[in-house]
C-alpha cells in the first residue's frame, strides 16, 4: 500500500481506507441489481418478462439467489486439485475488485477542509494497472479449469487463455491511441484532457476496437466461447457450485463494470458533461455511473442480439483484423499528434 500511497500523498491514510470501503460497498450494492437488470433486459429483448416474482418487480431476486448459493453444499470433483480449486475463484474475484480502485469517479474535491480525490488511486501507470490485474486474473480462470479435473472445464480455460491473450494486445494498442492524444497515463489527467472534445470522436477507431476487445476480455457474448454452454456445459466453472460459482459470476460482472468505467473514462470524458455544463462536484460520480450503465446496457444488448462466434473466427478476427487495425490506428494517431 505504501507504494501506492505516495501517489496521492495529500490525503490522510484513513481517507484511503474509507474510500476503499465506500467503493467496495457501493459496487457490491449495485452488483446484484445489475444481475436483475441484465435478466430483465434480456427478457424484454426476448419478448418475455424476466424475473418478477420476488419483491417488487422481481428486485429481490438476487437476495433469494445469494441465500440459495450460500447454502449449497461445498463439494468438489474427485479428480480436482483441492487447494487450487478453492484458490482459483478467489484470484478471479480479487483481481476484479482490484480494478475498481482505478475508476476515477470525479476530480479532486474539497470536502470539509481536506482535499480528497474521488478515486481509489491515481497511479502514474494508469491503465497498465488494469492490464496487470487482468494478467493475473487469467490464472483464476486457467487454474479453475485445470484444477477441476474435468475436460470441459479444462477446454474452457484453455480457450480463455488463448482468447484473453489475443485480445489483450488489440485492447492495449487501441488504448495507446488515447494515451498519445492525452499525453498522460494518469486517468484523471486523461479525463481532464478531454475537456475540449471527448476522445471517442477523434479516436473512434480506437474506441470501437477497445469495445470489441473488451467484450472478448470479459468473456461476454459474442465472444463467450469460454463458457459456451452448448459445447462445454459451462466452461471453466462447470464444476463449481455455491460460493465458488458466485465468485466467478461476480468477478465477471465486476470486470464488466471496470471495463465500462475504463471506456467511459478513456473515451466518453469520465465525469465531464457535454455542452459546457459544470455541475457541482458531488454530481461527478453519478455522471460516471450513468455512463457506465450505458456501457452495461450495451453489453446486455449485444448479448441478446449477436450469436456466438466460432473459435477459428474468433482467433482470425482478433489477429487478422483487430490487431492490424489497432496498429494502424496507433500509427495514424502518432503521426497526427506529432505534426
Amino acid at each position: 500500500m505504501i507504494a501506492f500511497a505516495d501517489v496521492n500523498y495529500f490525503e490522510p491514510w484513513w481517507i484511503q481506507i474509507v474510500k476503499a470501503l465506500l467503493i467496495f460497498l457501493v459496487i457490491f450494492g449495485v452488483l446484484p441489481l445489475l444481475t436483475v437488470y441484465e435478466r430483465k433486459l434480456l427478457g424484454r429483448f426476448q419478448h418475455r418478462y424476466g424475473p418478477n416474482r420476488v419483491g417488487p418487480y422481481g428486485l429481490m431476486q438476487p437476495l433469494a439467489e445469494i441465500v440459495k448459493f450460500a447454502r449449497k453444499e461445498a463439494f468438489r470433483p474427485t479428480g480436482s486439485v483441492g487447494f487450487l480449486f478453492r484458490l482459483a475463484p478467489a484470484i478471479s474475484i480479487l483481481t476484479a475488485v482490484g480494478g475498481l480502485a482505478l475508476i476515477p469517479w470525479g476530480n479532486v474535491q474539497n470536502i470539509l477542509g481536506t482535499r480528497i480525490g474521488l478515486y481509489g488511486i491515481d497511479v502514474s501507470i494508469g491503465p497498465l494497472y488494469v492490464f496487470a490485474l487482468g494478467g493475473i486474473s487469467f490464472y483464476g480462470i486457467l487454474l479453475g479449469g485445470w484444477a477441476s479435473g474435468s475436460k470441459y472445464s479444462f477446454l474452457g480455460s484453455m480457450r480463455a487463455a488463448a482468447q484473453l491473450i489475443s485480445y489483450e494486445v488489440s485492447q492495449g494498442l487501441a488504448l495507446v491511441g488515447v494515451l498519445i492524444t492525452a499525453q498522460t497515463l494518469s486517468l484523471t489527467g486523461i479525463v481532464n484532457a478531454q475537456r475540449g472534445m471527448w476522445y471517442f470522436i477523434p479516436q473512434i477507431v480506437g474506441f470501437l476496437i477497445f469495445m470489441v476487445a473488451s467484450f472478448a476480455e470479459t468473456n461476454r457474448a459474442p465472444f463467450d466461447l469460454v463458457e459456451a454452454d452448448a459445447e462445454l456445459v459451462g466452461g471453466y466453472f462447470t464444476e463449481y457450485g455455491g460460493t465458488g460459482f458466485v465468485a466467478y459470476l461476480f468477478a465477471e460482472y465486476v470486470n464488466m463494470m471496470v471495463v465500462s468505467a475504463m471506456a467511459a473514462t478513456l473515451f466518453l470524458g469520465g465525469w465531464l458533461l457535454p455542452f459546457g455544463i459544470h455541475p457541482p462536484g458531488w454530481v461527478d460520480p453519478f455522471v460516471v455511473l450513468a455512463k457506465m450503465m450505458l456501457f452495461m446496457t450495451l453489453f446486455i444488448w449485444i448479448r441478446a442480439t449477436l450469436p456466438r462466434l466460432r473459435y477459428d473466427q474468433l482467433m482470425s478476427f482478433g489477429w487478422k483484423v483487430l490487431l492490424p487495425l489497432a496498429t494502424l490506428n496507433l500509427l495514424v494517431t502518432a503521426i497526427i499528434v506529432v505534426h
Binding site: A3, I125, L128, A132, G135, F138, W146, F154
Partner: protein, 224 residues
Amino acid sequence: MSVVMFFLAAGAAIIGAIGVVTLRNPLYSVLALVCHLVALAALFLLLRAEFVAAAQVVVYAGAVMVLYVFVVAYVGGGEEVSAGSTLRILGPLFALALAVELFIALLGSALSGIHRYGAPYKLGFGTPEQIGRLFLTDYLFPFEVASLLLLVAAIGAVVLARRRRGLEEGALELKDLLAMPRPAYTGTIAEGVGVRRVREQLEQAHGGVTEVVPAGAPGSEEQS
C-alpha cells in the same frame, strides 16, 4: 509498512524461486514462477519503479507465463529422465559452487550497504514518461534493435509453426520423411557426461541400447 511489504515480497520471491526448481509437477513449478514474478513486481513497486512493475506483471505473469501454463497443462509433464551417474554427482556440485560464488558476490555487496539509505527519489522516477524518454534518447539504438529482435522472433515462430503444404519444387524423398532419431545415449552431451560406459554395459546385457529405450520414445535423446 514498507519494511513489512519488503519482507513479504522478498519471502514470496525466494519461496517461489525455490519452488520452481524443487516442485516436481511442472504446472506447480510454473505457478511458483508466477508467484516469484509477482513478488518481484511488488519489490519493483517498493523501489518506485512503477512502470517496470506493471510491465513485469503484464508481460511475464500475464503473457509469458500464461503460455507456459497453456503448454504445460496441454502437454503435461513427460516422464522424468534421471541423469547419468556422473552428472548426478557433478551437477549439484557445480550448482553448489556457483551458488556459493553468487552468494559471496551478491551478499557481500548487499550487506555492506544495509545500514545506508538507498539512492534518493527523484520526482518522476520510474514513471512511463521517464522510461519513454530514455528509450528515445540514451537507449534509442537498443530500443530499435529490440524491436527488430521481436520481429525476428515472430518470423521464427511462423517459420517453425506454420502449416506446411509441402515443398514447392519436387516431392520429398522418402528418406526425408522417415523419422530417423538419434539413438539413445549418443551425442556430445552424452559423450561429455560419460554415458559410453553405460552404453557398453547395456550392450553386453541386452545386445544394444535401442532395445532398452525404443528410438523415438520420449526422452530417448541423449538426456540419459
